[in-house]
């Protein structure tokens, strides 16, 4: 990297302003630490799930699909962990706006992976259904007994839903506190994992009672769920990167913060009118504020004070630009 960017001949040290790094409030800093721990816990717990499921997957397409879904559940935590690491880097000459968008980019990649895999799995399941391919599941030797593999598969599937559901529940409030959409989507997907497990169990039980199509049908359901998660996250990531106005995490309503900011400004005696444009930048909010002053007296000090007042409204507000203008168009 440094080879490609040996120096910045266009912009000497004085020419580039770097943003001051954003500082998280105590509560969010703690939540962030907890989020990291929970994501590591997810990786470890899902690791055990994936290994166990891989050992017994056998010929059930539903179980194989659930297995792949569990492998895919590594993707969002990895994306979140990488993003959290990179995001914290202070803005530098190369990225003067900082690395806050890493979250959105990582999330876009994760969402794309989910979408592609969901589509592939769905294709696979439908093809199995159409070709009337029947799953063959025999026995295995377990502690000297001959057991139908289906029972072992069901037992492992039951285990497989416990860690993600628990971790999803723990992650959800943390994600809300941090306003981290990637983490929130990850938590939601984990929480919904019991449905995958249940569908796969139905598939295996279906094989057990001689309904050969139940398995592929369950696989199709699971892949639909993966595909839906992927598309939903994809849309969210794209909207974030396309600078949609800030929304709450859940329910995803537009944040009333821009209105509150305008009201705060317009209550001030020196402000005649104000307008606010906000966008999300990773977990943070940034944007432009335009004010029409009644007089030009002491304008610089007033604008600087306005920035401080506005940023005190919400910890997510970061690096606001307040521009005095003659009139709003």
């Amino acid at each position: 990297m440094s080879a490609a960017w040996p120096s910045f001949p266009c912009c000497g040290r004085t020419a580039v302003r770097r943003r001051k790094p954003h500082r998280l409030p105590q509560e969010q800093a703690e939540a962030r630490l907890r989020a990291k721990r929970l994501e590591w816990a997810t990786l470890i717990a899902m690791g055990t799930v994936v290994v166990l499921m891989g050992l017994v997957t056998g010929n059930s397409q539903a179980m194989r699909t659930a297995w792949i879904e569990d492998m895919l559940s590594f993707v969002p935590p990895v994306a979140v962990l990488i993003a959290m690491r990179v995001e914290q880097r202070a803005p530098d000459a190369r990225f003067p706006f900082g690395y806050y968008r890493t979250v959105s980019i990582a999330f876009l990649c994760a969402a794309l992976a989910l979408t592609v895999f969901g589509g592939l799995l769905l294709f696979d399941a439908v093809q199995t259904l159409l070709s009337r391919d029947r799953p063959t599941i025999g026995t295995l030797r377990l502690f000297g007994e001959t057991v139908w593999q289906g029972w072992v598969m069901i037992a492992v599937l039951i285990y497989s839903v416990i860690p993600p559901v628990l971790l999803g529940r723990l992650k959800e409030p943390v994600a809300k506190r941090l306003h981290n959409k990637a983490l929130y989507a990850d938590a939601r997907m984990n929480r919904a994992d019991w449905m995958t497990g249940a569908a796969a169990i139905c598939g295996v039980l279906g094989i057990g009672v001689g309904l050969w199509w139940a398995d592929a049908a369950a696989a199709a359901l699971i892949s639909l769920d993966v595909l839906r998660d992927g598309l939903r996250n994809l849309s969210m990531a794209v909207r974030d990167l396309a600078d949609e106005a800030p929304r709450h995490i859940d329910p995803p309503e537009f944040d009333p913060l821009p209105r509150r900011m305008r009201e705060l400004l317009e209550r001030q005696a020196w402000v005649k009118e104000a307008a606010v444009m906000l966008r999300e930048e990773g977990d943070l909010l940034t944007g432009q504020v335009y004010v029409v002053p009644r007089s030009d007296a002491d304008l610089v000090a007033r604008v600087e004070q306005a920035v401080r007042d506005l940023q005190a409204l919400d910890w997510r507000l970061y690096d606001l630009a307040v521009t005095p203008v003659r009139r709003l168009d």
């Binding site: 025999g138 029972w151 069901i154 039951i158 416990i162 497990g197 094989i207 009672v209 001689g210 309904l211």
Partner: protein
């Protein structure tokens, strides 16, 4: 809430395990019980041998025993491998025997049992032969054109015609080395995991077959020795 549901499912499982699962989509096991077991036989001694009357060999012997237990009569169908396996795929046969191995190319379109016996093609030595440290340049008896001669060539050994009679080493299946006139060396040319082929998805029948094979696992080596006489 959801966790409780999961726990409830956990408690439900043992009760389900008591049921007669898995069942067959096409009801093979039902047809076989007190009915007819249709067996395709591919000639492959000593595993399955065509005779003028009834097939003999290790696998037909095993199936006769299973059929007796299930109260079934056996219809033997002898034919070429391709034809029998197509019949199996279509559900016209219940099982095809003939020394099939786990990694056979047909297994994709068919179901198969767990391997019930493993045999090895080994290089065996005459009692007075010196120990064979490595295969390269060793003279080993193997019929010309046999798979064994191919493996030997690959490993740099020199396959010789067994009819010369003066050989010290020979490629032979491990189960045939019983009478003490030959001893196995550590050189294994191939490992075969033997399976029976069934139709796809007939899981009840498959499970019955596998349970039976697990139970009779120890009988297979003696059966092989009864039915087989191997020469290089």
């Amino acid at each position: 809430m959801r966790l409780f549901r999961v726990l409830a499912l956990l408690l439900l499982l043992p009760s389900l395990a008591g049921c007669d699962l898995p069942r067959d989509p096409d009801g093979s096991l039902e047809q076989i019980r007190r009915g007819v077991l249709r067996v395709g036989v591919v000639h492959n001694p000593p595993w399955a041998v065509w005779t003028a009357v009834e097939p003999s060999g290790v696998e037909p012997a095993l199936l006769r025993e299973l059929a007796a237990r299930l109260g079934a009569r056996i219809d033997w169908v002898q034919g070429p491998e391709q034809e029998l396996l197509k019949a199996l795929e279509q559900g016209a046969l219940h099982v095809v025997v003939g020394g099939f191995v786990d990694d056979n190319p047909w297994a994709r379109q068919l179901g198969k049992t767990r391997p019930f016996h493993t045999t090895r093609l080994v290089v065996a030595a005459r009692p007075q032969a010196p120990p064979l440290a490595e295969l390269a340049r060793a003279e080993v008896a193997a019929a010309p054109g046999s798979a064994a001669s191919g493996y030997l060539l690959k490993k740099g050994a020199k396959p010789v015609d067994p009819y010369r009679g003066d050989w010290q080493y020979a490629a032979l299946p491990d189960w045939s080395l019983t009478d003490g006139s030959l001893r196995p060396t550590e050189h294994v040319l191939r490992e075969d995991k033997h399976v029976l082929l069934v139709a796809k998805g007939e899981n009840g029948w498959l499970v019955t077959l596998e349970r039976f094979l697990d139970e009779r696992g120890l009988a297979i080596l003696p059966l092989l020795r009864t039915h087989g006489r191997a020469s290089p």
